[in-house]
């Protein structure tokens, strides 16, 4: 059995979050080398890296650092390829940063980005799209196996963190908009099938957002910057945004009624804090609150605030509204660039399983930092051995608190503390006379 397979076999092991780092260290390095040997011929960017860094084998974690891809690698395409419909370029780019053999993709007659995403999917290369802070979304390729791993890990993570069994007995509420992104959809379905049923679950009825529609918005922004957008296009965009907003409000009103009607059921709520807060406010406005909901309500909440401005007590407000106890909240930390979510324990830290290496780096992302003295603030970097469609090594934009010691909850293994900050959000005090036309674009786009 290969080292990779040995570690991935632990996905089904109940003790997977209680393994001392030193017990698996050697096996992890062996597994990284197996992945490296396989991927170097599949991912041109990795091949380049290996040549320029003159690294052909990883003997210790330090050797891995020059081989990691910064999160920016997945947004390194040229946006004008999208605007100009140069799908051959896009396909070639996907093939440069992932294991996808994009030469198998027929790009003839592709009508737009959604079409392109479908065409890539037809050869087993599923693209997800994340909106970044800089406005240029990452485009991340997943294989079939990545979708399976990611969706299953979410289910097992929830059970590990909250003790809630995957017995299909809950009514699940999807309180955020759905996306037409294969990975997100698979993850949603896995949750529904594990903890509820398709028939007994509720999904906010708004049209799913596609990768193409996100990108169209970004493209408009570029056209405004270039001076190529007409005033009528801008006006139309604002009308569309207003219509979407109003559709959302109608849908939320419907969701409130459903929630109130199902208040004597065992619930699992899912969504982001911003939409959950709005729902909670509306439920209160109808005169319902914690005493009306069962004491075993569970919550899965993804992501941070994503720029939404909420009052400081938004968590308490949401939890009190639905009678949610802390131990039945599933928080996790992950990023689109990885497969594996890291569930939060009752001690408040995020736990990494043994098939993911935690690699705390200095701020520039160039060197491993010394963790022997205990917890340390560092730039988060990871190697996710479960990744199949792309390289497992990723440097994030997050400042994390990393620890390899035993967690307060009693479990062994690497953990990440609750305070996670994007480096991009640190310090807004920069003023410089050099800049680009991006600073001249006003409005929602």
């Amino acid at each position: 059995m290969s080292a990779v397979d040995q570690l991935l076999a632990l996905q089904h092991d109940p003790g997977r979050y209680d393994i001392a780092p030193s017990d698996v260290q050697a096996l992890q390095i062996e597994a990284v080398n197996e992945r490296f040997a396989e991927r170097i011929d599949q991912i041109p960017l990795l091949r380049n890296r290996s040549q320029s860094a003159e690294i052909t084998t990883v003997t210790e974690a330090e050797d891995l650092v020059p081989l990691l891809f910064a999160h920016g690698a997945y947004k390194s395409y040229a946006q004008n390829w999208l605007a100009d419909g140069r799908w051959d370029r896009m396909a070639k780019w996907v093939g440069t940063v992932s294991t996808c053999d994009s030469s198998r993709v027929d790009v003839d007659g592709i009508g737009g980005l959604d079409d392109f995403v479908d065409r890539m999917g037809s050869v087993g290369c599923y693209l997800t799209c994340s909106s970044g802070t800089t406005g240029k979304p990452a485009m991340i390729a997943c294989s079939e196996s990545d979708l399976e791993v990611a969706s299953r890990a979410n289910v097992t993570g929830l059970t590990w963190a909250t003790g809630i069994p995957a017995d299909g007995s809950r009514k699940l509420f999807g309180l955020g908009p759905r996306t037409r992104v294969e990975r997100n959809e698979r993850t949603r379905i896995a949750l529904v099938e594990a903890f509820s049923t398709e028939a007994d679950s509720y999904q906010l009825p708004v049209a799913p957002i596609s990768v193409g529609s996100i990108m169209a918005m970004i493209d408009l922004r570029h056209r405004i910057a270039d001076g190529a957008a007409n005033p009528s296009e801008l006006a139309e965009f604002e009308t569309t945004s207003a219509a979407r907003q109003s559709e959302m409000e109608t849908a939320i009103a419907g969701a409130i009624d459903e929630l109130v009607a199902a208040r004597d059921r065992k619930l699992l709520l899912t969504g982001m804090f911003a939409s959950l807060f709005q729902v909670a406010q509306d439920v209160r406005a109808k005169g319902f609150s914690g005493k009306d909901f069962r004491a075993d309500t569970a919550l899965l909440v993804a992501g941070g605030l994503k720029g939404a401005a909420l009052p400081p007590d938004y968590r308490e407000f949401i939890f009190d509204t639905f009678n949610i106890a802390d131990e039945r909240v599933y928080h996790f930390y992950t990023m689109q660039e990885l497969n594996t979510p890291f569930p939060k324990c009752p001690g408040g830290r995020y736990h990494l399983p043994p098939w993911v290496l935690l690699l705390p780096l200095d701020e520039p992302g160039e060197k491993l930092v010394d963790t022997t003295a205990g917890p340390i603030q560092a730039r988060g970097a990871f190697f996710d051995l479960s990744l199949d469609g792309r390289w497992g090594g990723v440097i994030s934009g997050d400042r994390i608190d990393a620890d390899f010691g035993v967690c307060g909850c009693g479990h062994q293994g690497p953990t990440v503390g609750p305070d996670i900050t994007r480096y991009a959000d640190l310090g807004g005090d920069k003023i410089t006379c050099s800049g680009t036309i991006d600073a001249y674009v006003r409005g929602e786009a």
Binding site: N48, S52, A70, G427, D429, S434, T436
Partner: protein, 477 residues
């Protein structure tokens, strides 16, 4: 960094040095801690009932005082500037030697002829700064006009440590009451310059009109309080970024932003550059000189080169020569500069790995890189990266010029005349001979405006001769 090592960054309020370490801050670029006194908002504001201290001081006297300040700023004889150089070297990403060379330009910046050139190009009749100037219209009405001193906050940029000297001169020339908000990557230079002035004469009205302080850009407790038309007429911002986005929400009737917007600059090189090896070498050196100003941190530093050729072999020769010239030491740039951000490195690396998008000359060693492509790259080249874009004709390059394009360095020089209307129409602000981006003709406009004329409060005292400008209409029958 521990408390013991926080650098002391005192304030200066109308000639009085204010020391203290009540507040600690961290510099944006290098993460160095510095300590400042607590900020007293009341002293930053001059009540409107008080006339500005410089109101009745003749401009000639102000220019004399600035010119003397220039002499006193000579680095070798000025302990404040010497100490400041040590401090800025710790907080600013520019190499110490470059900061030193910038400081050495101070006497030049404050030379009499430079100051007068600014005044005379901004004001048709500079007498409006010294008193009420009468003019008469065609109907014989007369008006007395005065360019009245404004109350100004200057938000200084962090990327040019000598920039504050130009701002101090601007403030003094329009007789403004000025508050200088220093940048976290240089919370020292303005205070050193104002201290030098105060040592000449602490009671001089120029000194009595100026204060320099630091607060973290965007700090609501300061900005929401003082950015009001009751206190200030104008906020002058050198550049863009989150610090400016914060200011915009305080603008409204009576308080305006005079913005030197964030800019980038380009070079346009005609096919004549290939007429001989000697010309090619000269043009490559000139493009490199324009690219490396402040290690490409300056807005006037070239980032894109539009090269008029369809011959890739020719373009490669140019790129090779340009790369060699990027890696040399210059007065205002260093042979080895800090590396670009990881995002930019990723993009260059991936495009390079695709094999047919970007041709990459050089490596990530700080000595500069040249990227040859058919379309401009989408990122903002910085840290000595030049993107050479092949164009069929320089006319084709005009579509890449926009309102963010400041300086356009051109070869051959004669083609400026042919292209300047189209460049202005596209939004460009200045066209110059390639290789001279960092030089200026004294008294020229900046970012498509004459800033001094925009800073003043234009006041009119009208003597309309007609009995009544709004007479009663005859009663309707």
């Amino acid at each position: 960094m521990s408390t013991a090592t926080a650098l002391a960054a005192p304030f200066i309020i109308r000639g009085e040095l204010i020391e203290g370490n009540a507040d600690r801050h961290r510099s944006r670029d290098l993460g160095v801690d510095f300590a400042t006194p607590a900020i007293d908002l009341d002293v930053l504001v001059t009540p409107r009932q008080q006339l500005p201290p410089l109101l009745d001081v003749p401009l000639t006297e102000i220019v004399d005082f600035l010119a003397e300040t220039g002499q006193r700023l000579a680095l070798d004889a000025n302990p404040h500037m010497q100490r400041c150089l040590d401090l800025v070297a710790e907080t600013n990403p520019l190499p110490r030697r470059v900061v030193e060379n910038l400081y050495r330009t101070a006497p030049e910046l404050l030379r009499r002829d430079n100051l007068w050139a600014q005044v005379e190009s901004n004001f048709a009749d500079p007498a409006v700064l010294d008193g009420w100037v009468t003019r008469t219209d065609a109907a014989g009405n007369t008006a007395a006009i005065r360019a009245f001193p404004p109350r100004v906050v200057h938000m200084l940029a962090g990327n040019a440590p000598a920039g504050c000297i130009a701002s101090i001169a601007q403030g003094a020339l329009v007789k403004a009451v000025s508050v200088f908000k220093m940048a976290s990557s240089d919370p020292f230079t303005t205070v050193a310059v104002l201290r030098t002035m105060a040592e000449i004469n602490p009671k001089h009205p120029v000194v009595q009109s100026m204060s320099a302080v630091y607060w973290a850009g965007g700090d609501e407790s300061v900005e929401r309080t003082i950015y009001r038309p009751q206190y200030f007429d104008k906020i002058v911002a050198w550049g863009g970024g989150p610090a400016i986005d914060n200011v915009i929400k305080y603008l409204g009737p009576g308080i305006q932003l005079v913005s030197f917007d964030p800019k980038s600059s380009i070079s346009m090189i005609g096919r004549e550059a290939f007429d001989s090896e000697g010309i090619l070498a000269d043009v490559a050196e000139r493009v490199a000189a324009d690219t490396c100003v402040f290690n490409q941190e300056a807005c006037l530093a070239s980032r894109f080169v539009f090269l008029e050729t369809a011959d890739r072999g020719q373009a490669r020769r140019f790129c090779t020569q340009l790369l060699a010239r990027l890696g040399v030491d210059r007065t205002f740039g260093s042979a080895v500069a800090p590396l670009p951000s990881a995002d930019i490195r990723d993009e260059i690396e991936v495009m390079g790995a695709m094999g047919d998008e970007l041709e990459v000359f050089g490596r990530f060693d700080g000595r500069g890189m040249v990227l040859l492509s058919d379309e401009p790259v989408e990122f903002h080249p910085s840290n000595k990266i030049s993107n050479v874009v092949m164009v069929g004709s320089l006319d084709d390059a005009v579509r890449h010029v926009n309102v963010a394009t400041q300086t356009i360095g051109m070869y051959p020089y004669e083609r400026k005349t042919q292209l300047r209307d189209a460049l202005a129409s596209a939004g460009g602000q200045r066209v110059c001979r390639v290789g001279t981006a960092n030089g200026h003709v004294a008294g020229g406009p900046h970012d498509a405006m004459y800033p001094l004329a925009r800073l003043v409060h234009w006041m009119g005292d009208d003597d309309v001769l007609g009995a009544d400008a709004n007479p009663v209409l005859p009663a309707q029958l």
